[in-house]
Amino acid sequence: MLDLPWRFIAILLANGLLVGSMYALVALGFVLIYKATDAINFAQGEFVMFAGFLAAGATHLAGFPWWISALLAVLGMVVFAFGLERVVLRPLLGRPIIAVIMATLGLGFVLRGVATLAFGGGTQTIPLPVGDEPVLLGPLILPPIQLVGAGVSLAFLCGFGWFFLKSRIGVAMRAVADSQQVAMAMGINVRRYFALAWALAGVVSALGGVLWGAMLGVDNQLALVGLKVFPVMILGGLDSILGAVVGGLIVGVVESLSAGFLDPLVGGGTKDFIPYLLMIAVLMVRPEGIFGRRRIERV
């Protein structure tokens, strides 16, 4: 047997998988929008940050208990995403894709600014009723907030997966993703499904905001979670929900391992860029990602 620090590796792996499932949750919001509406939402990270501010604000400014704050964050983000689709994105429908990209990029900065103006620049907390005592699972030592975050993320991902694959509305969503024009001809109200995709992205962002916010604290830096979505997406495949999950887990593990093994060698910081190296490598070898859709073509 190789002389490796097995226990250390096991802890890193577990840690990576837990954090990775939370990345997957945020990535789901991104895939949903891309799949349903062909738009790329570069403000996904800021959505998460904004939701975090909403939850923290509801707790500290209004004094609500944590679960009402979380609920408010979800509702607030649904309304926000819904309105955004209506006011900003619908008029851009049919314009070159760069218009949508720039609009969402700009929106991201607006959200950062507005959040700082409204809630101040300091780091705020979201006090979830989760203890600080690490949980011991066999040889593993795990922070409880990560367990809760991963649990909620995986539960939501499974529930959504079922909904997307089995329900009538899920079938219609996939039909819209497959061909908007044919979906229209079958009597599917395509605009309503665009709105639904944005609303769901709002829910996902709110959950992500509360969980990540509880873990890292809520400030402008929370939006950086959104940047991790890109390696996740490219790895998994831009238009695949399963890909978002698997990509999320891979990025989580890669990050965790590089933090454990490479950081001590070079003095830190590798975990922030190694996932992007991986992304570039994947782009060269398999541009559609692990589960990305290759066009079905009959010859």
Binding site: V171, D178, A183, A185, G187, I188, R293, R295, I296, E297
Partner: protein, 264 residues
Amino acid sequence: MLALNNIEVVYDNAILVLRGVSLAAKAGQITALLGANGAGKTTTLKAISGLLHSERGEVTKGSVEFAGERLDRLPPHQVVERGIVQVFEGRRVFANLTVAENLTAGAHTRRDRGTVKDSIDRIFEMFPALAERHNQAAGYLSGGEQQMLVIGRALMSNPKMVLLDEPSLGLAPQLIEEIFAVIRRLKEERHLTVLLVEQNATLALTIADHGYVMENGRIVLEGPAAALQQNSDIKEFYLGLNEAGARKSYREVKHYRRRKRWLG
């Protein structure tokens, strides 16, 4: 049942595609709409189904009426709710969805959700080849199976009328016969009203009750299918038949003149 009254269609506020098209499709009948490429047949169907709106086209004059109600301002999903469904040319299945999911998507507008499963079974009875592949991605079906699937998917909305665009396009002759037999059966057994767009005029006129011929965004000929089959212009331009005994060079001249009169 369906009536187009002198409709004009403009794309992008600039390009006039249909210039005063009037036609009527009677309930329980098959009406054929014939014509060459670019004559405006598909645009006519899209004017009925409301899909023009998504292509920046607009009915600028005239009206589309179905069972006494105007359709030409309605979005496509409301047209489907009223009982008209369009089947695109080129077998546009949802390639990444399974056969069964394609059919489920076709039933999207139905309120009686409990009976959707039964309808799927009935489509499978009609097209046994689809039943065998119900769990397969529709993109991997053969051309004939895909054509059956798009027709079956359209029937899932329980339509009163189906707009069929070139169901014979790119299929082997035997498959075409099969598809046309299905269309005839739908008329006879379900009393479905059909507006059939075809380039293959011979075939279309054998199952149609009434026919229209389009050229350059206009209706240029109309009549009962049997009469159109006998019409010498139709015979020559669409059925590829020559009057026996006529000298070729002489016919060429007349052909040109008669065709020009049509296009005028």
